[in-house]
Symmetry: C2
Subunit: 500 residues, 2 copies
């Protein structure tokens, strides 16, 4: 036992546990909190964040970390201890690079900017958001300066969410991917459209609650260590591997909204539930990155949940739950309906084919804003032009265009590409899994999800945040991330559905 | 503006907000937390309690408090500032008196003792709890030594919960009260019994949820700043005056369990909701004492909720909710049924007449254990003898006797009498209120609870913890606490019901 390491872990455990309680307060805020409590909750969240930040960047923490590093200097590079200290060092150094005054300015501006964005979106007036967005961009540029980068200002930002990635890598990813997606989306627009009447109708919500819960439990989401509640914007949150909660939302005329939100969030949740107990309260207890997290939610939502095998599995369950609504439908009609592709305006409602085009345009616009190649004033026009180019449609208003996402208003610049990384990783994992578990389709069709979850537990979840996302992809699939697998997956699937 | 005072308040606000988040984690633990999360939650609660404790007793806090006291030395005794600092000083000094090692020992022993108690209760074997209880008593004695007292060791303990009270005061209270209660209970046992068939039957739970919520809302419990959930042991908890939550529990054959638990907890909740915003995050944001808190819950549960006027108000609501179950009953039959008196074994199920006899015996046994006049080995026998003396019945087993309450297992010694204080204060307030609002009965009967809540807001809630409980009773009722009002209330009410 290395004493300095134990002291360091004890201190990190304290910070980690406070973070878990803060996350619980966040969960409550979006599920059960009475409306009148908003201001008090804001104050509570600000206080606990401040306490956590102070503990995290304290000189004492720096000394404990330094001592633990010295005393473990001889250990194997691949031990938990060395990796843990590496993750901690990275977080500590990043947090110390930002001056407290800038952190405070950004935090204060965030609520102003979010208010301006809400106002702008509800009145469809971009000019009400523009000044706040300009300040956000300036602050983000300043923070990137402190964080540091060699090639591109975006490097400093993407590296916060997708560790080890860079603007060049992300740009290359989209150069590879975008033309294929544009082409496939255009081909589908020109083909005979899929009828999705099968999934619209009368779906009373009480039955949706029961049924979605039964299905995510069948996938392997452990309800003794989790639960599902309702929220306006579905999410997954974790307060330790033994308390990982999901939320969903219900539409009484369209059950797929709840079901696919539940599948998505359960994918996130099974990742968190699968991170080993030995990492609890340490810097390795998290996910490898946002992209890897998204790969898990997307794999269960799309590669599994929108497969023909899953349609064969789930349709009888849905038909039993809603015998009248689904009396004249079939698994095959259901399969087609859930895979309808449509060039649409809103990212969060987009299908597998068009989704990443929405993200690509955000990435490109973010880069241009940061380098100064694009001014805030020209942003709406640039948005609309790219929508036309990639998706063949133009937003009739800025509210359903450039103002649709919350991210920029809360300073999340450099975050969007993690969604695409997640989608690509899910396809590459799926290809590997299909080779590793040859009878995966019949497993899914018969509701036997244990082999799949077992594979993900072993090859992804068990590592926590021990490895960088790039390292993890190589460990799990044998090679670095390649957009080609996603393109192959889409072409095969949608070629068949749309007869291309 | 006094700068040192502002610095002190800023620091106290931080501690107060962390305490609110810890309370939220406690609420979640008893309502929605998945079972597998128990250990992680224990760790989270331990960490945040430790952080709060360290901040509360730090030298820095002592210096801030001292500076604020110096700089406010000339202010009027009755200002919020002076009172706030007095409450803070009291808490700071008490917390600093206990050595950290004793606090840690007590905290560690608590979970052991609670486990032993649960085991002893479920196997009906007092000897399994006795050794742990001996350690608890020894620790509590030691802590009382550090806290300090002049007359009786119990003084140091009761003063933690009912500030300014003493063993002598509590003993005098019971000397006054107990003979009257014993006499009334015996007279009722000898009289013709009340039939409570009217309140037993088929009460589907979904309707209970709706109906109890509608009723507590009608009383004045503000649901934009609160909510009601289900818990095994009903409680009220507050995370600021704008987020005060209650819980209740349902029995499908006996709606009164949920209804009266809800009335009780809503009484607590309306107190917390009524504490002024200007006290938020300061040492004055709490209740005056546990006894004053209990006076509010009991007043709404008993003086209001078990009155004939309330029976006339609520019975039609219940009959509309359960037309079949209550078809042949009446408000008068309902009134009698909810006021049935019975000498029974379990404190938490006891009626207004016998309840305080249960508490009196606990107080007497606690005193005897602390002074050494009673040994742990002789405790069950002493319990049973007093039950016989006060209530005329003897517990057939220790599980429904000396082992029934959780309090002693978690170190709560000196706490029980606050329940009786609450009952007596509720009766004394009720007498004052009946004079101040002459048409209170017709108000209650017509569902107009605003005048009553307004009176309580003004005369009790608005003070927060600015005054000691004894001071508050005088402010609100014009005289110190007198058990006679409770005795008069019981004799009048139950004399009529039982024809004594």
């Amino acid at each position: 036992m290395i004493e300095s390491l134990e002291r360091f872990k004890e201190r990190v455990n304290r910070i980690s546990r406070l973070g878990q309680i803060a996350a619980l307060a966040g969960w409550d805020q979006q599920t059960y909190m009475p409306t009148g409590a908003a201001e008090a909750r804001g104050e509570q969240m600000a206080v606990i964040s401040e306490v956590i930040h102070e503990l995290s960047v304290s000189d004492e923490m720096g000394a404990l970390l330094g001592a633990a590093e010295s005393d473990t200097a001889g250990l194997d590079e691949d031990t938990d201890e060395v990796r843990m200290l590496r993750v901690a060092r990275r977080g500590f150094d990043l947090a110390r690079k930002l001056p407290a005054s800038l952190v405070a300015d950004m935090s204060r501006h965030q609520s102003v900017a979010m208010g301006a964005w809400q106002e702008a979106r509800s009145t469809n007036d971009f000019s009400k958001f523009a000044p706040a967005l300009q300040i956000t961009i300036d602050q983000v540029r300043e923070s990137a300066g402190y964080l540091g980068y060699t090639n591109h200002i975006y490097d400093a930002l993407i590296d916060q969410y997708e560790m080890g990635s860079s603007q060049a890598e992300i740009a290359a990813m989209y150069s590879d991917l975008t033309p294929h997606l544009v082409k496939l989306a255009a081909a589908i627009r020109a083909a005979a459209q899929v009828d999705d009447a099968a999934i619209h109708g009368d779906f009373p919500i009480a039955t949706q609650k029961e049924t979605t819960l039964k299905i995510v439990q069948a996938l392997g989401y452990d309800l003794t260590r989790g639960r599902q509640d309702e929220a306006a914007h579905p999410f997954c949150t974790s307060f330790s591997r033994n308390d990982v909660r999901i939320t969903t939302r219900y539409n009484a005329m369209f059950m797929q909204q709840a079901l696919y939100a539940s599948l998505h969030e359960a994918g996130h949740a099974m990742y968190e539930q699968g991170i080993p107990e030995r990492f609890a309260g340490t810097p390795l207890s998290g996910a490898a990155s946002l992209g890897i997290h998204e790969s898990q939610s997307r794999l269960w939502e799309n590669q599994v949940g929108r497969s023909r095998a899953f349609a064969n599995y789930v349709f009888p369950i849905l038909q039993t739950a809603y015998p009248e609504t689904l009396s004249s439908s079939s698994p095959e009609a259901y399969y087609k309906a859930i895979n309808r592709v449509e060039s649409s305006l809103i990212r969060v409602e987009a299908d597998e084919v068009t989704y990443n085009l929405h993200v690509a345009l955000r990435f490109e616009l973010e880069c241009a804003l940061l380098t100064g190649d694009l001014s805030i004033a020209d942003l709406p026009e640039a948005w609309n032009a790219r929508m036309k180019e990639y998706l063949g449609i133009e937003p009739p208003t800025n509210s359903v265009g450039v103002l649709q996402d919350v991210h920029w208003s809360i300073g999340l610049i450099g975050y969007f590409p993690t969604y695409t990384v997640g989608n690509l990783v899910s396809a590459q994992l799926w290809k590997t899994i299909r080779e590793a578990i040859p009878d995966i389709d019949s497993n899914v069709e018969s509701g036997n999800f244990a082999p799949l979850l077992g594979w993900l537990n072993k090859n992804v979840h068990s590592y926590g945040s021990k490895y960088l996302p790039g390292e993890l992809v190589v460990k799990a699939t044998g090679e670095p991330l390649k957009p080609a697998y996603y393109v192959e997956y889409l072409n095969a699937k949608y070629g068949e559905i749309y007869g291309l």
